[in-house]
Amino acid sequence: MSPVIRIEAVSKRYGAVAAVDDISLDIRENEFLALLGASGCGKTTLLRLMAGFEQPDRGRVLIGGEDMTLSAPYARPVNMMFQSYALFPHMTVAGNVAFGLKQDNISGDVLKARVNEALLAVELDRLGDRRPDQLSGGQRQRVALARCLAKRPRVLLLDEPMAALDKHLRERTQLELMALRKRLGITFVLVTHDQGEAMAMADRVAIMESGRILQIGAPRDLYERPASQRVARFFGDMNIWPVTAGATPGTLFVADLGLEARVASGSFLNGGPLTGAVALRPERIAISRTTESETGQGVQGTVAEVVFLGTASTYFVKVPAGGTVRVVVQNSDATSVFAQGDSVHLSWSATALTAIEP
């Protein structure tokens, strides 16, 4: 199937700063793609290039197979939900939703039905006569969403849609957006700086930095197998240690752990000079008082610090070689509770360790 949006070697500069630097990207029909990155990474510019608010300096933007690089926003079959919602303050809720439909010369009963349908989808059908400043933040967000949905766009572009909502409302809205998308079958492109939001909602996540996409893939793949330290850092507090070539072929020496480790995957295993790092997720490490599970790898250490987090605890375990290992343990049973100074054994399966680029 051809991609619904194709970004072809697109660059966009503002003065000396490359906001988008030679990005190529295919967005598939009906997928939920998240552009994830810190502020200033170019994710919003990329979204605005899709919406037509910016024109690229180089490259092409294809929507539905058609070259729309220079098309005006009103000519594109995509709709954007703005971070500020950008509701028209002089129109009612229904007026806001009807605005986009009127531009398509829809009127009369059809218009009424389409407005009502969109408002029903966001459960605001009873507030059609209100004005935006009579609504709560969450309600305003739904109006903005309904206004986009009424147009039945091929792609819905979401610019930090949850940024202005509180945590509780954000989680609810995430679930609603996902349900809505399943029902309507629209392609979603979400811009966010919140990795939790991206992971929870998206089919694919593109991690951006300095106008480039560092890595793109399913959330689980990015989480388990980050290609670089910069990507790894996006997903919580990973253990990352520098490595050198091990004495045994196919192994890497982790100086911080005093350990020769076997590594499951990593792009730089295919020959070349071995300078890099390995990453290990804190929750993939088993912690116990006795040596066990000889199938995996492990080290001996001493608990240096305990941080209680409620459902889980984080242990910082000092190993004799000098490094510190971060371990996250679910507080599901009393046997896995350790105190500062306890001597413990850490172990993990060979597939848990990922080689990454420096």
């Binding site: 919406a51 037509g52 608010f53 005006a72 926003p73 009103y74 709709n79 954007m80 703005f82 500020s84 950008a86 509701l87 028209f88 303050p89 002089h90 605005f99 986009g100 531009q103 398509d104 004005r131 400043d133 009579q134 206004r147 147009k151």
Partner: protein, 300 residues
């Protein structure tokens, strides 16, 4: 909490009291005098009007008021023509000012920062020179041997000088020129606050630029349009200097009539009555503006 509320309340009262005092001294008091004179009769004395109250030994024994001045205003076609002429000229001039001022204000509001401030200063720059001097400068430009005619003749575009000065057109030109900043500034203040995301949202929803302007920009700048139009229209109605200096014999404006009654005819009561009627005429659009603004603000 209560104490603070009271002190804030008294502070507000103090500011409002200063405002009312100012209004009383510079408006209500003089207006009461004008109103009083408008009911008197003109006579050769100092001051040149009859006393309103008959006094015997300092005691008021009777009221001598006449409505004759108002009667003359109603019956003499000259005054009616002057009022209509003033309102018509002010209306047309205000419309021209709006048509010129709106794009200017829009361009300034959308200009990037350093240029925007420069443009704003340029709009206000004429205020650095006296209003009278600037209108005299137009005489220098428009008169038969003035800059424009001389230049056109030198270029061979015309053989004889055009009649530019002392025409109705010169009056419009003068009013539009003099009052343009009063249109541009309130419009700018409004347009500058317009969230660009709203315009992007309109475009995103399929509206072409012209539709976006008509259904988003224009309605949201409505208060600015109202304020600008009133700031131009009200002084333009009573304008005297511009029709006197640039206008011709056919330019009939109430300001000029007032001047003639007051200074040439020394008919203070007549002139006062004409002023009261002018004020009453102008209060109507102000009230309309206020109610429109209140409605716009009350509208949630």
């Amino acid at each position: 909490m209560i104490a603070r509320g009271t002190s804030a309340g008294s502070g507000r009262r103090l500011v409002l009291a200063a405002l009312w005092l100012w209004t009383a001294i510079v408006f209500f008091l003089p207006f009461a005098l004008v109103l009083k004179i408008s009911f008197a009769e003109a006579q050769l004395s100092v001051p040149p009007y009859s006393a309103l109250f008959e006094r015997v030994d300092g005691v008021v024994v009777g009221l001598k008021a006449t409505l004759a001045n108002y009667g003359l205003l109603a019956t003499d076609a000259l005054y009616f023509k002057a009022y209509v002429g003033s309102l018509g000229i002010a209306l047309i001039a205000t419309t021209i000012t709006l048509i010129l001022g709106y794009p200017m204000a829009y361009a300034i509001a959308r200009a990037p920062s350093p240029r925007r401030e420069v443009l704003l200063i340029l709009v206000m720059l004429p205020f650095w020179t006296s209003f009278l001097v600037r209108i005299y400068a137009w005489i220098g430009l428009l008169r038969p041997s003035g800059v424009i005619n001389t230049a056109l003749q030198a270029m061979g575009l015309i053989d004889a000088p055009l009649v530019l000065l002392n025409t109705q057109g010169a009056v419009y030109l003068g009013i539009v020129y003099a009052y343009l900043p009063f249109m541009v500034l309130p419009l700018y203040a409004r347009l500058e606050k317009l969230d660009p995301a709203l315009l992007e949202a309109a475009a995103d929803l399929g509206a072409k630029p012209w539709r976006t302007f008509l259904s988003v920009t224009l309605p949201l700048s409505h208060p600015g349009i109202l304020a600008g139009c009133l700031l131009v229209f009200i002084p333009a109605v009573g304008e005297f200097v511009i029709p006197e200096l640039l206008g011709g014999p056919d330019t009939l404006m109430i300001g000029k009539v007032l001047w003639n009654e007051f200074f040439s005819n020394r008919d203070w009561p007549m002139s006062a009555a004409a002023t009261v009627v002018l004020l009453a005429t102008l209060i109507a659009p102000v009230m309309l503006f206020q109610s429109l603004r209140m409605r716009a603000e009350a509208r949630p």
